[in-house]
Symmetry: C2
Subunit: 256 residues, 2 copies
């Protein structure tokens, strides 16, 4: 099978024109088939502020009311997505911008209300991988915004890490998928305050051990749980690395 690199890049890289330009140049250097999944970060918050919409956060997570859904649809699927596509086209990469509604790529369901009503947030239910794989085989490079739909006409805001993970799994029957999460840190660290304490490789047994010892904790645990879930579903390797070290071969490699 052919190699496919799926790169997920967060809002911090995207919102700064210089870091974005560097990322896209590095992305160009990656050989073989590829997909870019992006967030939008502060750009959505900035537009909300300009429009006088209050950004509601509960426990560090954005609440997506109807107005905020419009903002993220405009910023992620419109402004950020199409600007990335135009910039990749200028680099002679045949990019195509997509969200989860396009050819029913990612169907999700509105998150049920328990303690917190997250609003128009979608939990991924199903990915239609075949059309996407066909496009990739035609040397098209999908650029995916983290907006999905419920197939009842409702768009839904969806976590970009989850979108990347689900796309990686859906592409695993078609390609040898290598999933890169671009992160602020060089990767998974033995000591979160020491960037030189990078763990170069983690297998599940080591992950369980690091968790037990309290070396890996907090937000890194669900990230790694997702990574092992992707590996269990046929993804070849998951790499957690810094955006500006995408080509270095560094970062933490999560493998079976």
């Amino acid at each position: 099978m052919n190699k496919l690199s799926l790169i997920k890049v967060g809002g911090k890289v995207v919102e700064n024109p210089e870091t974005l330009a560097k990322l896209l140049n590095d992305f160009k250097q990656i050989a073989g088939y590829k997909i870019l999944v992006h967030g939008g970060g502060k750009l959505a918050t900035e537009l909300s502020q300009k429009m006088g919409i209050e950004t509601k956060m509960v426990e560090g997570r954005r609440i997506t009311d109807r107005e905020t859904l419009e903002v993220v649809t405009m910023v992620y699927a419109g402004l950020v997505n199409k600007n990335i596509v135009a910039q990749l086209q200028a680099l002679h990469i045949n990019a195509m911008g997509l969200c989860g509604a396009d050819f029913n790529l990612i169907r999700s369901s509105k998150r049920p209300v328990k303690d917190i009503d997250y609003g128009f947030v979608g939990d991924v239910q199903e990915v239609q991988g075949d059309v996407l794989a066909d496009l990739i085989n035609q040397n098209i490079v999908p650029v995916v915004a983290p907006i999905t739909h419920d197939r009842q006409g409702q768009l839904l805001n969806t976590n970009a890490d989850t979108v990347a993970n689900e796309l990686a799994k859906a592409m695993a029957p078609h390609f040898d998928v290598h999933l890169y999460y671009c992160f602020e840190k060089p990767g998974v660290l033995m000591n979160p305050d020491d960037d030189n304490s990078l763990i170069r490789e983690i297998k599940r047994k080591e992950f369980e051990q690091y968790k037990e010892e309290g070396i890996i904790q907090g937000g890194m645990i669900p990230k790694l749980d997702n990574a092992f879930n992707a590996l269990a579903c046929g993804v070849k390797e998951v790499i957690i690395t810094q955006a500006d070290r995408l080509l270095s071969g560094g970062g933490t490699h999560i493998i079976v």
Copy 2:
């Protein structure tokens, strides 16, 4: 060759949820392959107002400064495009949203400054029809927002009628193309004040005669010039009709 219906719908239909829902339902009924090209109309002006951006018009035409380009990219290629796609998906039409930057579908060049500086407005230079035709042959229904790019990384605002016309011409080698312009009036009228004075069919000779007699004038002349240009490039027929009469077989049919 298979039939392809290309429907261009303007901002007035799109900005009202009820007229949009009716249009999409009618669109579903059209048999065979199809493309939808949409504007965004007042929705862009409304967002500009909310953001405190002044809308600059010269001789009835919007000037696209950098901020306005961001607004139309967000509204046309994001909000409007992805909502139409989600609603078509709910109707079980396999829609895919696109702008001209996606797989380099429509390359344009920034309009040169003569008397008026229109800003970031693109005049269409080249359409890549092959990938679009492949998608259509896979039963995908493209939904196209009138944002193009210069292949140097710059997005450009482009007239939606022109986008429809250029796409129709580019599809003519692949399909029997029928191009529908949805319009506020029932079609081309003998008397602009009398909706019952519809001209059902126009050939070029009649058009020249109507122009000479002053029956057809103003903004209708470039519309019909474009229509005859499309016919000269292989489009089978151009229909100017009201959005809510799309299925009636009415309107003005412009034929060779």
